[in-house]
């Protein structure tokens, strides 16, 4: 009965998704057999119209964006479903299910993009693919197995949602959700091995030097094992960075979807629902965003350790301006996220008491972002050089140093955390007798932490780089994390039995705040595109860095100005496709509203 009802595919969109997924799987399986064969001696074949690199770039970036979406959103969904189960709040369950439905469409598109990408690579870069498949062949078979696992788990998780309710069934359903995420994450880890290997084809030597041990001899022949190729220098940092990034991205896309529905909503009930959904999405995005810089720091550090020149190219030369643009985007993310939280306080009576802190918090964030965006050096004329008295500006030049940047990043994170704290407290009055003492402790903790972070930052100017990177910066990070943990614990205890002076008026948000959610989603996506360009471009004129040179007509790193245009095109395509998938979901729902319920229809048939 269950299968009859659900494999009946009465819903046209589900049938479409299923067919698309089957087609994608077929493509991937076909491709897997091609991997096993030796390619021809042809090194490159041109892709008509837009060129091989552009074709591969578009397909890869779209695959990655959709991949992030279908990895990030199930994480989001499982967490939300778990929260719904614990709080017995049906809204959470409904929202999680809504997003898994959207995931189905995105899943097929991801697989399709993956298939397209593989075909482009095999057609346009046969020699490169031959080399990679020669090394990674077994892992590609494993990838296909994982793909099957993810596909069927997703189907079970999605189609079984309504059926698997109740305490025991819900636990099993949650288990399926976790399994889905395990498969998804494993797929990402496997494919990350292939691309990180292209960037850093070496393994880490023994401590303490951690020298890079190449996996190729002088003729370029592979001399390592499959596991060594997988566990290359940058594999795990990229894995962790992408994992956290996917959480943030998933949250941001959910937020944007909610904002769109909020703005299009006709009833107050819908506005309230999507306002709440937007808030939850933004909260998850923030949770991912805060640790993301630390993961990025680790990745960058590993790149430096793998190859000093590559590191310098990244931060101080070829891609140095890219990181200033990155700072602009991250600045927008933090400012936007804070603005959204502050806007959110307006829907809570009593939230206005915190408004007096806002100008100072805005000042801290804007100043911090400005420092983060300050370049260390610029091309200068002799006159400018003479005017500055050296290659660096005597005052502003200091802001270009890492110690200044690390300091302001921690200050931005703490300020954002404070915004969230104020939001959480809005409309509540603690009843514990020690509330005054608690507030003083929190204020002092914040004050001391800021003083410590700034002091460490200043000391950082005066110590050598090794000491700063290995000792001072981690201490700065630990101070920030410790404050967040300590304050959260105190605050939770203080407000556990707090008196609520007013409820949150969901739906009472300005349209502006919803535009901010959309801004955040586009910024996240742009940032991913930009950093994808950096990660890939770091190889410069190599398919596999230091092993296999790129001798194609595209053997140069495109200008940032050209790259951002390509990224803009990709983002437009991505959002157009996402919009289509969202619309498809809405269209199906609308159609369903006019039809008898599935259960009734199926029962009637059985009878």
């Amino acid at each position: 009965m269950y299968l009859t009802k659900h494999l009946n595919m009465s819903q046209s969109k589900n049938r479409l998704y299923f067919l698309l997924a089957l087609l994608a799987m077929y493509l991937l399986l076909t491709v897997a057999t091609v991997f096993a064969q030796d390619a021809t001696d042809t090194e490159y074949r041109p892709f008509p119209g837009i060129g091989s690199r552009n074709a591969a770039w578009i397909a890869a970036q779209l695959h990655l964006l959709f991949g992030s979406f279908i990895l990030g959103v199930p994480m989001f969904a499982v967490v939300i479903e778990f929260v719904g189960m614990k709080t017995k709040d049906k809204r959470y369950d409904k929202m999680a299910q809504e997003f898994i439905k959207l995931c189905m469409g995105a899943f097929s598109t991801t697989a399709l993009m993956g298939g397209v990408l593989v075909f482009i690579l095999i057609w346009c870069y046969p020699k490169v693919m031959n080399k990679l498949s020669g090394i990674f062949g077994p892992s590609m078979i494993f990838y296909v197995i994982l793909f099957f696992g993810e596909t069927f788990t997703l189907y079970l998780y999605s189609y079984g949602w309504d059926r698997m309710q109740g305490r025991v069934s819900k636990m099993w359903h949650l288990f399926l959700g976790v399994l889905l995420n395990v498969f998804g994450t494993a797929i990402m880890f496997v494919s990350n091995a292939w691309l990180t290997y292209q960037t850093s084809p070496a393994i880490m030597g023994p401590k303490p030097a951690h020298e890079a041990i190449p996996l190729h001899d002088e003729s370029g022949a592979f001399i390592g094992t499959l596991w060594q190729a997988i566990n290359n220098y940058t594999w795990m940092p990229v894995n962790i960075h992408r994992l956290i990034g996917n959480i943030a991205f998933g949250g941001a896309i959910v937020g944007a979807y909610a904002a769109f529905r909020f703005l299009a909503a006709k009833t107050q009930e819908d506005r309230a629902h999507y306002d709440w959904m937007g808030y939850t999405g933004n909260f998850i995005a923030l949770c991912g965003l805060i640790p993301l810089p630390f993961a990025g720091y680790w990745l960058g550090r590993e790149i430096y350790m793998f190859n000093q020149t590559m590191g310098i190219n990244m931060m101080g030369s070829l891609f140095s301006w890219l990181f200033i643009i990155q700072a602009v985007m991250i600045g927008v993310l933090f400012i936007g996220a804070n603005y959204y939280l502050w806007s959110g306080m307006t829907r809570i009576a009593g939230g206005e008491v915190y408004a007096r802190f806002r100008p100072y918090m805005i000042a801290i964030i804007v100043l911090s972002v400005a420092i983060w965006m300050t370049p260390r050096t610029l091309i200068v004329t002799p006159t400018e050089l003479a005017a500055m008295g050296g290659p660096n500006h005597p005052l502003v030049g200091l802001f270009g140093l890492m110690t200044a940047k690390n300091t302001v990043v921690n200050l931005i994170i703490l300020t954002t955390f404070l915004s969230f704290l104020f939001y959480r407290r809005s409309g509540k009055t603690p009843t514990v007798t020690w509330r005054k003492a608690g507030n003083i402790i929190i204020a002092v903790t914040f004050g001391l932490a800021v003083a410590a972070i700034v002091t460490i930052g200043i000391v950082g100017f005066k110590v050598n780089t090794d000491f700063r990177v290995n000792v001072l910066t981690p201490i700065q990070v630990l101070v920030a994390l410790a404050v967040m943990i300590v304050v959260t614990v105190i605050d939770l205890i203080m407000y556990r039995k707090a008196m609520r002076s007013s409820e949150i008026n969901w739906g009472q948000m300005t349209d502006r705040s919803q535009y901010v959610l959309i801004l955040l989603a586009i910024t996240f996506t742009s940032l991913m595109g930009l950093m994808g360009y950096a990660r890939s471009g770091l190889r410069e004129a190599w398919h596999i860095f230091g092993v296999m040179p790129d001798t194609s007509p595209d053997a140069h790193t495109p200008l940032l100005a050209d790259a951002v245009n390509m990224i803009a095109v990709i983002i437009v395509i991505f959002f157009a496709l996402v919009g289509f998938i969202f619309w498809l979901g809405l269209w199906g729902d609308k159609k369903k509203e006019g039809e008898p319920p599935v259960e009734a229809e199926a029962s009637a048939g059985d009878d």
Binding site: G245, A264, P293, F294, G296, Y297, L299, G300, R301, I303, Q308, T309, G311, I312, N313, M314, M315, G316, S317, L318, S320, W321, F323, I330, R376, T377, I379, T381, P382, T383, E384, L385, A386, G389, G390, G400, L401, M402, K405, V409, F461, V463, N464, T465, V469, I522, T523, L527, A555, H556, T557, L559, A561, A563, V564, N565, I567, A568, I571, F575
Partner: protein, 498 residues
């Protein structure tokens, strides 16, 4: 209805201007001038759509504007392309266009050359109107011949006031092909001159084994990371030479007598100079001084001025000096105001930096002074009142100065000298001095001259300060500095968010 039409037109224009901006279409002309770039058009129409529309289109316009904003912000970053320029046909227009792209991109010419006479002086000559000026640089050479020589063999002729720092562009790391060099020459010809794209035989056979072997670096067996350590901590080069992404350790002190001076930034040194040049700069710091970074000592009005030579032309020099308080200022000094100094031997005058010389002829007793032109083993040529005058080196009066054991300073015209005695004419009288009575000297002055001696602020004994392995590591590190855009920020990993 009318409002709806305006909305739709506005929407279409926004999409069109976005596509045109991304596709880098030529600017939309207004009254035959490219008044507004597509970015401005897009901004106007996106704003109009946000105002005119409600709901979905308003949202889409906003989203498109955000996407555009990031693309626009990143597009205004200064950078150079390393892409190969495709030359579709052999016409002056195509060559000039391709040459311009290479000039600003793969050739990295714009790193040192400017095309704006009002721009501050750069490392290499400004090339405004080089299409016509090239014909006047070297007698007997056409503009094209001069440009060919300057690109293939830039060391053969140096524009006065500039050092020999330009690498032959056909060699690594720039490695332009013959065709690419042709297009650059066409582009340079187009700067005020006539473009001639007739094929020519390059003065150097780029493909020859000799040319390639010559470029092979002899000392590139070093370790880059150890070289960085030498650069930062061992030789402390970082105190003066900036490298984006590398910072000076806090509290680093320099050796006694060594002070921090403005020195060339080295972020992309290996991208714009050959490895041979880098090697020479380290082993022989004085061999070639980058314009604007040389140390100079001159004497004027009896006062000695020491500083950094900032600019130089045929009439004056600008020297950056520090006062006692450490404040820096630029001082313009007329070359005519420099004090002449005695010249002991009339040899290697060019190498010693003389530009003006005064001699007294032995046969006539006449004193001649003028701009120094050239010298041979037997004579020197001076430019006196616009005319060249050749002076025999053996026909100049020689002044001798010596000090006897009574500390008397005796100055006179040298008549003769041998192992036992020196004969001088002092105050019109011949005086014979026994060499046994001479405490110091004699020193000779065969002429007086004004000169500019520019030296590197780097210690002359720099190569001796480092061990062979440190030197090798340092060279390897410098050879790794190949950034294409000498720009910004940060010395190790920064927070990335992918």
């Amino acid at each position: 209805m009318q409002r709806k039409l305006i909305r739709i037109i506005s929407l279409i224009l926004m999409v069109v201007s976005f596509i045109a901006y991304i596709a880098k279409a030529p600017a939309f002309p207004i009254a035959s001038e490219n008044l507004l770039p597509w970015s401005t058009w897009f901004f106007i129409f996106a704003l109009a759509n946000i105002i005119l529309w409600q709901s979905v289109v308003k949202l889409l316009s906003f989203a498109l504007m955000v996407i555009w904003f990031y693309a626009f912000a990143a597009s205004i970053v200064p950078e150079t392309s390393t892409a190969t320029v495709v030359i579709t046909e052999r016409t002056p227009e195509v060559f000039v266009e391709a040459g311009e792209a290479i000039f600003n991109g793969k050739g990295k010419c714009n790193t040192c050359h400017t095309l704006d006479p009002s721009a501050p002086k750069s490392r290499c000559p400004d090339l405004t109107d080089i299409g016509t000026h090239a014909a006047t640089r070297q007698p007997g050479m056409t503009a094209k011949e001069y440009l060919i020589e300057s690109t293939y063999e830039p060391h053969k002729f140096l524009v006065p006031g500039y050092s020999n720092i330009m690498p032959p562009v056909w060699k690594p790391p720039i490695s332009l092909t013959e065709l690419e060099i042709e297009t650059v020459i066409a582009f340079l010809q187009s700067q005020g001159g006539e473009v001639d794209i007739t094929e020519f035989k390059p003065p150097v056979d780029i493909g020859s084994a000799e040319a390639i072997v010559e470029e092979q670096p002899p000392l590139l067996t070093g370790d880059v990371e150890r070289g960085k350590k030498v650069f930062v901590e061992g030789a402390k080069c970082i105190a003066c030479h900036a490298v984006a992404g590398v910072e000076q350790p806090a509290g680093q002190t320099l050796d006694e007598g060594v002070e921090v001076v403005a020195a060339p930034e080295l972020t992309d040194i290996a991208a714009v100079n050959s490895l041979r040049y880098i090697e020479e700069s380290v082993l022989l710091p004085n061999a070639q001084i980058v314009s604007g970074y040389g140390s100079i000592t001159v004497k004027t009005g009896g006062a000695i001025i020491q500083g950094t030579l900032v600019t130089q032309d045929n009439e004056e020099i600008n020297v950056r000096v520090k006062d006692a308080a450490g404040n820096e200022e630029e001082r313009a000094i007329l070359l005519s105001d420099l004090d002449p100094e005695p010249i002991e031997e009339l040899t290697d005058l060019t190498g010693k930096g003389y530009f003006w010389i005064q001699v007294t002829l032995a046969d006539t007793g006449a004193t001649i002074s003028g701009d120094f032109v050239e010298e041979t083993d037997e004579s020197i040529t001076l430019q006196v009142d616009g005319e060249s005058q050749i002076v025999s080196k053996s026909n100049v009066k020689v002044q001798a100065t010596l000090i006897d054991f009574d500390e008397n300073v005796i100055v006179g015209e040298l008549v003769s000298e041998n192992e036992d005695e020196v004969t001088l004419i002092v105050d019109g009288e011949e005086q014979i001095i026994d060499t046994f009575d001479i405490d110091e000297g004699p020193t000779y002055s065969r002429a007086f001259g004004k000169r500019l001696v520019v030296t590197s602020p780097m210690p002359n004994n720099f190569p001796l300060l480092l061990s062979v392995s440190d030197m090798s590591d340092l060279l390897a590190y410098l050879a790794s500095l190949t950034g294409a855009t000498a720009a910004t920020a940060a010395e190790e990993a920064e927070e990335t968010a992918e």
